[in-house]
């Protein structure tokens, strides 16, 4: 998101889910869409049935490959080279949109020089993708009238994740695939309200609506609205908080509905850090790996037990409605936060979530035109600045918020930890269809649990034969940070030299192994690449 905000002045999916069916070309990179976003996967399949071309770039033979016209099997962590290579060919063949570049962008000439080095031959060497396929992809993407790029964590969860996003944005700027229907740059957000939680300012450097805490005039506005004096020091990100706790700078942590022990990289490190706190408060609907370390645990309400809104991946704000009462003495998060706030001397005083929603509209113009009544029946997509505004299905019609879109030169950098003699395999992580995130919810669904009861490690059949590993056999996977044991799944899905482990299982947590190296801009950890070895 940090990447897109820098290039366009706004970081979100540019286009809408329902526009997918009318794309002429879909370029899906680093997204196992049919498993992680199954319904968006359906819209993609519909587009293909209606005649769209589909390019899938993924090291694993994901289900979507079956529906694709071209599959680019790049080595994990080499996306910048691949995308620069595609741009190189588009330029060489004159497929760029000159009018768009002239009218709406800046930095083109300098960037153009930066991709000169990325000939298909050289890119083949880095990525393992045959040069003819790189040329094919460039022609398909470069000649399509309406081409949309779709990506997820396969792009962002790298130490150079922001660079990956820059190279995606460059491609869209180069071909003028922005500011129009059924095209764009579309990061598919992974959790029900991850878009909303960033919109709402649950990021260390921004108030709600991406308004920066460091800008004095912004801070004054919020001080007035909230009736409190606010800190002018930037805050710490999740992984930085882990460090700060270990170094004794952070003493108390209040966690609402998260399970960082399982979801953060380098698990042992996270546990040690949380243990060093003087106060850990965890508010959740279940006991988790994180609550185990808490001093106080507060029982919260689930999605079905409260009123409010979620914002989906296409910026659509939709209603969440209370259907049942919370069990026992569990309470809604709003009640809990207000009660603690009151006790430490700051009274909030809301009677209903809609009062909060209206307050958000007052301080963030993108939501100013929304209210609960207008969200009937299908929600509204921000920006929606006035009461008669219909919402915004696609962004940047007639220009970017920051004026021009910027071309950003990015050079290919290898991942932070690559396979070597001692740890010869590359490990990548991700989701599977029947599980969700850390499993707090999905593992408690009997049916889902029964079809995906335990963790596995995908290993390519040729590697398996070499190592004498058989389907279903228990193996150990080791990295410099830890070891887990789990069953082997021998398959062609993962390429040679690459292992894949789903992230959902606490009995064999992939994040015991992963690297906590961060992308310097977005502070996203490198979940997608680390070096491991596998033992029988």
């Amino acid at each position: 998101m940090a990447g897109l905000a820098k290039v366009f002045g706004s970081g979100a999916m540019t286009n809408s889910i329902m526009e997918i069916e009318n794309n002429d070309l879909l370029f899906v990179i680093g997204s196992n869409t049919t498993e992680a976003h199954p319904i968006i996967g359906l819209w993609m399949k519909k587009a293909v049935r209606k005649g769209a071309k589909l390019i899938v770039a993924d090291p694993r033979k994901i289900n979507l490959v079956k529906f694709s016209h071209l599959w680019l099997r790049q080595k994990p962590g080499t996306d910048v080279a691949l995308l620069n290579g595609i741009a190189h060919v588009i330029l060489k063949e004159g497929l760029e949109d000159k009018d768009f570049i002239h009218k709406w962008t800046e930095g083109f000439e300098e960037w153009k020089r930066s991709v000169e080095e990325y000939s298909p031959e050289r890119v083949e060497g880095i990525t393992g993708v045959p040069k003819d396929d790189i040329i094919k992809a460039a022609r398909l993407y470069g000649t399509a009238e309406k081409a949309g790029i779709y990506y997820t964590m396969g792009i962002t969860q790298h130490s150079h994740g922001t660079d990956n996003v820059f190279s995606i944005a460059n491609l869209a700027l180069l071909t003028g695939n922005l500011g129009k229907e059924s095209a764009g740059v579309n990061p598919l957000r992974g959790q029900n309200n991850v878009q909303g939680s960033t919109d709402m300012g649950c990021i260390s450097d921004s108030y709600p609506g991406y308004q920066k805490v460091m800008i004095p005039s912004v801070r004054e506005k919020f001080e007035e609205e909230w009736g409190a004096s606010l800190s002018d020091r930037p805050g710490l990100s999740t992984v930085e908080m882990t460090e700060a706790a270990l170094e004794g700078r952070l003493k108390a942590l209040y966690v609402m509905g998260e399970n960082p022990v399982l979801s953060d990289p380098h698990m042992a490190h996270t546990v040690e850090s949380l243990k060093s706190l003087e106060l850990l408060v965890v508010q959740d609907i279940f006991l988790t790996e994180t609550t185990e370390l808490a001093h106080v645990v507060l029982p919260a309400a689930s999605f079905a037990e409260k009123n409010g809104t979620f914002t989906n991946t296409e910026r659509r704000v939709q209603r969440v409605r209370k259907a049942v009462n919370p069990p026992g003495d569990a309470r809604e998060d709003l009640w809990i936060i207000s009660a603690i706030s009151e006790r430490i001397g700051y009274t909030m005083g809301y009677d209903h979530p809609e009062e909060i929603f209206r307050e958000i509209g007052r301080i963030w113009p993108a939501l100013a035109g929304m209210d609960y009544r207008r969200l009937e029946p299908n929600g509204l997509q921000w920006p929606c600045p006035t009461k008669d505004h219909p919402g915004t299905p696609y962004l940047f019609r007639g220009g970017f918020p920051r004026g021009n879109g910027i071309f950003t030169s990015v050079e290919y950098k290898p991942s932070g930890e690559t396979p070597d003699k001692e740890y010869p395999f590359l490990l990548t992580t991700g989701r599977i269809l029947f599980r969700y995130h850390t499993g707090t919810m999905s593992a408690r669904s009997k049916a889902l649990q029964s079809v995906a009861p335990e963790a596995h490690v995908e290993i390519n059949n040729e590697d398996a034969v070499k190592l004498g590993i058989k389907e279903g056999q228990k193996v150990k996977v080791k990295s410099r940070r830890g070891t887990i044991s789990l069953k082997a799944k021998v398959t062609e899905r993962s390429p040679k030299g690459v292992l894949f482990i789903p992230i959902h299982f606490n009995h064999a947590s992939a994040n015991t192994l992963t690297n906590d190296l961060l992308d310097p801009h977005s502070k996203t950890p490198e979940f997608k690449v680390c070096a491991v070895r596998i033992e029988v």
Binding site: K66, N193, F222, V297, A304, V324, D329, I337, F357
Partner: protein, 347 residues
């Protein structure tokens, strides 16, 4: 555009549109069990038969496209007699167990039998008797109730792109099943359950939890991934007994995945936290809200005083609502006085 007249009403329809779809534009409802707007036309149930002026025999409205000047009658004593006979034939090979069927009250076949007043079918003869049930954990497949409309087969192939089921055998023995009649092993999206017009396909975890009576519906948004599918929670006695989705929802058009459709039982899990807990001597003890909140606020105040507000951090959740996230960061910034606020799903 093509101009035609259905039951005396002038209608303008798109070229290539089926008569059935053109009729629905004007609210003329032609009975049909195998038609679905998302699927290719099939013409299997023979209930949507209509008369067209100048044509010797009735035709199926779902497979006949509109043409200029066409005059259609969707109902007449003759058509209704034929329709009733066709319905009667379908019912002749359908078990009479509406009293225990999960689908009673929202079954298209039952509704039509009610509408046409068929208490007992005229046609006596051999019926398909199947005892095998499918061992998969999500979907109950009762093939005795199947009328072979093929909607499940088509949605699995044409929309989901999975093709986990198809027709097997021939004639009276025809049935829908996975390859070699093994247990269903698919993505378990349940789109087939959504389109099934009878009680042949239902969710396993719906069974025995309640039917139409005393069941409330609440529309909300799915708590799993970021797509934001619309959900309808079916509520009885303060419990979610089923999840469905309205077909007019814009994000997902009624379609769901296995998690959205079947993964709701965590809400009523016995593991849910029901009371605040404070750790004493390494063990959690249940305490009152007052005690928990007093403890937290006292400790927060002490830590803030001793080390300053930046010694306190907050992790918010991509699972919680906008209002909760907003309030949480407001709490950290305005009440505690720090910008140490983040959530785990950075990307």
């Amino acid at each position: 555009m093509v101009k035609l007249r259905i039951d005396g009403i002038d209608i303008e329809a798109l070229e290539g549109m089926a008569i059935l779809e053109a009729a629905r534009l004007k609210g003329i409802d032609i009975p049909a069990l195998c038609y679905h707007p998302k699927l290719s036309p099939y013409g299997g149930c023979r209930l949507c038969i209509v008369e067209i002026k100048g044509m010797p025999r009735p035709v199926t409205a779902c497979t006949t496209t509109v043409s200029e000047g066409m005059e259609v009658r969707t109902t007449s004593p003759y058509i209704e007699r034929l329709r009733k006979t066709n319905l009667d034939l379908l019912l002749s090979d359908h078990p009479y167990d509406c009293m225990v069927c999960q689908k009673a009250g929202e079954c298209d076949l039952q509704d039509l039998a009610y509408q046409y007043g068929i208490r007992e079918p005229r046609f006596k003869g051999e019926r398909r008797i199947y005892t095998k049930r499918d061992g998969n954990p999500f979907i109950e497949r009762d093939m005795e109730k199947c009328i072979l409309c093929g909607k499940c087969v088509r949605i699995c192939d044409e929309v989901q792109g999975v093709s986990a089921i198809d027709f097997a055998y021939r004639g009276l023995k025809t049935k829908v099943c996975p390859p070699f009649e093994r247990d269903l092993d698919c993505e378990f999206c349940g789109q087939c359950v959504m389109v099934c017009p009878t009680g042949s396909l239902v969710g396993k975890n719906w069974i025995g939890k309640g039917r139409a009576r005393n069941v409330g519906e609440v529309n909300t948004t799915c708590p799993y991934c970021g797509v934001g599918c619309s959900l309808t929670l079916h509520i009885k006695d303060n419990k979610i007994i089923r999840v469905s989705s309205k077909e007019d929802s814009v994000v997902n058009e009624g379609m769901l995945c296995a998690k959205g459709r079947f993964g709701y039982d965590f809400v009523a899990s016995p593991d849910r936290l029901k009371t605040p807990l404070i750790k004493r001597n390494g063990r959690f003890e249940p305490v009152s809200w007052d005690e928990a909140l007093d403890y937290i606020s006292k400790r927060l105040k002490e830590i803030k005083e001793k080390y300053g507000p930046d010694a306190i951090g907050g992790l918010s959740s991509a699972r919680c609502t906008n209002e909760e996230n907003y309030l949480f960061q407001k709490f950290m910034r305005a009440a505690v006085g720090t910008n140490n606020i983040d959530h785990c799903a950075r990307h």
